[in-house]
């Protein structure tokens, strides 16, 4: 029987052999990625002197948008197809401070370690070990940032009821939604000062469903910003961030 990492690799090799490149280049998805970059810079305090490591970088679409705003970006991913594409895009765009490697980790001390839609793909054991690994990758004062689907999200409940086939199309067999507070607790248990923040409500799912409709994404993002100010609704947000700093 194949293990979870092997299944994940096979899925992502297929994903990054055409579909992802086309999908991630669509206007709404690019607007979403640009929003993510602005958000990451704001909540982590990363800037032009920061060294950034991205775990599970995929084809590097977010990392290549981030690279001009920081000193250096290193992206690692298990998928050779994704890394090939990320390197080709970096060369095509003339981005010299972004480097992409096959694998799960990298040497060095980083000011920011980020993991965009990555933790929820990890098997339990790897997820449990990740905070300790991240600690060894961070420079003094460094910060960890992750973004993952929440198990409390309303959009997941609605999606499973209305379009279960579509939901499965964008999911690997082993990925799962994560409970935000428990995910932060894993980092606290490893000595991080971790907090969670809800990222969105309907805007990211809309960008996935209607990737060509940038105006629709922007309108939904504005609605999200308003909805996320309401505490009772915020808990049902779609994706959550963990922002964790070494406390000791």
């Amino acid at each position: 029987m194949k293990d979870a990492l092997q299944r994940e690799l096979e899925y992502h090799e297929k994903l990054y052999s055409g579909f992802a490149q086309a999908h991630f280049a669509r206007p709404a998805v690019r607007a979403l990625r640009q929003h993510m970059v602005e958000r990451i810079l704001r909540v982590t305090g990363a800037g032009t002197r920061s060294r950034v490591l991205s775990l599970g970088c995929g084809i590097g679409d977010t990392e290549l948008l981030l690279a001009p705003r920081v000193a250096e970006v290193v992206g690692v991913d298990l998928s050779p197809a994704a890394v090939r594409q990320a390197r080709a895009d970096a060369g095509r765009l003339g981005i010299a401070n972004a480097r992409f490697e096959e694998g799960t980790t990298a040497d060095g001390a980083y000011d920011l370690v980020m993991a965009i839609f990555f933790l929820h793909h990890l098997p339990d054991q790897a997820l449990a070990e990740l905070p300790g690994r991240v600690k060894g990758l961070l420079a003094p004062g460094g910060v960890f940032y992750s973004l993952d689907p929440s198990s409390r999200r309303l959009s997941g409940v609605v999606g499973r009821l209305l379009v279960p086939g579509l939901m499965k199309r964008y999911q690997t067999p082993d990925e799962r939604e994560l409970e935000p507070e428990l995910t932060a607790e894993l980092f606290r248990g490893a000595g991080f000062d971790a907090r969670i923040s809800m990222y969105d409500f309907g805007s990211s799912p809309l960008a996935g469903l209607l990737p060509g409709w940038r105006a629709g994404y922007r309108a939904a993002r504005a609605v999200d910003d308003w909805l996320l100010r309401v505490p009772a609704l915020r808990r049902m947000g779609s994706n959550f961030e963990v922002i964790a700093r070494c406390s000791g």
């Binding site: 979870a4 098997p123 339990d124 054991q125 997820l127 449990a128 198990s151 409390r152 067999p173 799962r176 994560l178 409970e179 507070e181 428990l182 995910t183 607790e185 894993l186 248990g189």
Partner: protein, 146 residues
């Protein structure tokens, strides 16, 4: 010649120790990992609110350990075997619900990577039969003694 009563008592002893060891093992697999991972397994069933998920994740492994040790030691058998049967019934009901709903989740029974399947349902169903048998024998013995 060995009497059938003696054979029955030996079989019962082996069954009690083995089923007690199952609970101790289940507790050990949960206690050796960060409690948050077991909490995530509970949360994946989408049944409990956050505060209850945390409460169950923090206490259930210790309850399993206590029940398992009591069964192995042969102490407080009516209470321990009844608690074991009730817990197994609850686990099995939750697993059957998740399986019927097509949820591809860890059962959380014995630590990590134990996805709910027909095999896990059959395994836990078989264990439930064993715990119910222990409950019946321990309650019958108590009634006879009274």
């Amino acid at each position: 010649m060995v009497s059938s009563d003696r054979i029955f008592r030996v079989v019962l002893l082996v069954l009690r120790v083995a089923l007690g060891a199952v609970f101790v093992y289940a507790a050990w697999t949960k206690l050796r990992q960060p409690w948050q991972l077991f909490a995530m397994s509970i949360d994946a069933y989408r049944v409990l609110p956050y505060w209850a998920v945390v409460a169950v994740a923090r206490t259930l492994p210790w309850a399993e350990l206590a029940i398992g040790l009591a069964l192995m030691a042969g102490r407080w058998l009516p209470v321990a075997s009844t608690a074991a049967s009730l817990l197994m019934m609850m686990f099995l009901a939750m697993m059957m619900r998740a399986y019927a709903a097509g949820m591809n989740i860890n059962c959380g029974c014995f630590g990590l990577g134990d996805i709910i399947s027909a095999r896990t349902l059959a395994r836990d169903g078989g264990l439930l039969v064993g715990y119910l048998f222990l409950t019946w024998t321990s309650l019958s013995a108590r009634r006879k003694a009274a």
